[in-house]
Amino acid sequence: MIERLGRKTVDAIKAVGGFGHFVGDLARAVPDVAVWGRLTLVQMRRVGVDSLPVALFIAAFTGVVLALQASYTFTGTVPLYFVGTLVGKTMMLELGPVLAGLALAGRVGASMAAELGTMKVTEQVDALETLAYDPQSFLVLPRVLAGTTMFPVIVALAILTGIVTGWIASLVLLDLSTQEFLKGLKLFYRFKDTWFGLFKSATFGCTITLVGCVVGLSTRGGAEGVGRSTTRAVVYSAVLLLVLDAFWALVLLR
């Protein structure tokens, strides 16, 4: 029992040390712009364009549900234009970033872990090194930069989509006018609502891509190992995303 606990502690310390080492190597790759610059644009297209349909699909339905649930909750005691307030605030502060983040943890994080894991077990990563490339600047940095810059763009569009579908649902299903919805939307709005959600989503993007790369590059043992890495990347990303969400709420919203 004590031995097992000791081994787990040592493993945990090793993992933290390994992650620190990984981030250090990543920082050392930053001056190698000639390699990561062009590849970052390719990854931005992959992360951004390819992920957009999933994020917008989720946001569209979330907007409708939020409008209906708000009206159900208010039950006539709260003015109905508050539907706009609730849809706007919730999409911007929480559901836009978090739902898109969770969806993209599955979409982007898993695909990066699988891709890099396959490259690792088929010695493609070793081949890169023998060709005088640093895997950090060739594989990791472009993905992390693409995630960090593209997630806020995706989330901004997701927020916009959610608000638009919430507005349409209010018009069609709740008999709310556009003026009333906009009145609610503007009520209590602060610029912080916007930058908070976008800043948060940048940190989600960084975390999800970093986890996908770290887990992918530590893959061992063939197809089974790649499968394990893919699952691990999704689970770690989702957990870290929720922890990070609580952390930013605590730090920036109090």
């Binding site: 050392r28 010695e123 493609q124 081949a127 090194e129 023998t130 005088a132 490339y133 640093d134």
Partner: protein, 241 residues
């Protein structure tokens, strides 16, 4: 010259290399033979710093590989071509881009890169395959692209990790011829890791047998063929225990 000096490496407490010592002279091709899982590929990966030794070192032209910083290691890797067991081609890139990738790290114009790629592909009889993807190639063709990728860099050394494993006898013979042709054409020093004795006899100037983490015997092809060491004899004749 490449020197393995008392190299030791263990994985999960299990020693794989246990005092591996070998000298590879310039201009010669040394073949390392041995049973599967005895650490032949592990030894090879120490030459380019893909693995760090537990003790001992590999000395390449006076440079101790394990002590090199990142810049020095990158400079060393530019002098060495590595042909991987399963070619390790980049799936998403065409044959051209696979061969050109290493060249793009050097100060070469696009025209020079294209010329070097064509030259390397011609040497491995793959002219015309530039736009194909690795998934569209046979095992033998993939290995040839792997060799082209290594020789396009015009290295001083080429390391071959099991170059004929998994190939039919005719394709294996083609790869052997290719390795001989590469040595004659580029005058490179080579290390070939294999357990294919026909290949070892064809491409090797000297053969070294790795057994239980150490070199059991090293000698010319003729010396190995006439050995009286029972372990080496059993291996080269392929006799079961």
């Amino acid at each position: 010259m490449i020197e393995f000096q008392d190299l030791r490496k263990a994985f999960d407490g299990r020693p794989v290399l246990d005092g591996f010592t070998l000298r590879v002279q310039d201009g010669e091709t040394t073949v390392i033979i041995g049973y599967s899982g005895t650490g032949k590929s592990v030894a090879l990966k120490h030459v380019v710093g893909l693995l760090q030794p537990d003790a001992g070192d590999v000395i390449v032209d006076g440079r101790a590989v394990s002590t090199l910083d990142r810049a020095a290691l990158t400079a060393l890797r530019r002098e060495i071509g590595f042909v991987f067991q399963f070619a390790a081609l980049f799936d998403s890139m065409s044959v051209f881009d696979n061969v050109a990738l290493g060249l793009r790290r050097r100060d070469l114009s696009d025209d020079e890169i294209a010329a070097r790629v064509q030259e390397a592909l011609a040497l491995v009889d793959l002219t015309g395959a530039e736009e194909r993807l690795p998934a569209e190639l046979s095992g033998g063709m993939r290995k040839r692209v792997g060799i082209a990728r290594a020789i396009a860099l015009r290295p001083r050394y080429i390391l071959y990790d099991e170059p004929t494993t998994g190939l039919d006898p005719v394709t294996s013979a083609v790869i052997d011829q290719l390795m001989v042709r590469t040595r004659e054409h580029l005058r490179v020093t080579g290390i070939v890791v294999t357990h294919d004795m026909r290949s070892a006899y064809t491409v090797g100037d000297r053969i070294a047998m790795l057994y239980e983490g150490k070199i059991r015997q090293v000698g010319t092809v003729a010396q190995i063929q006439e050995t009286e060491d029972p372990v080496v004899r059993q291996f080269i004749e392929g006799r079961p225990t």
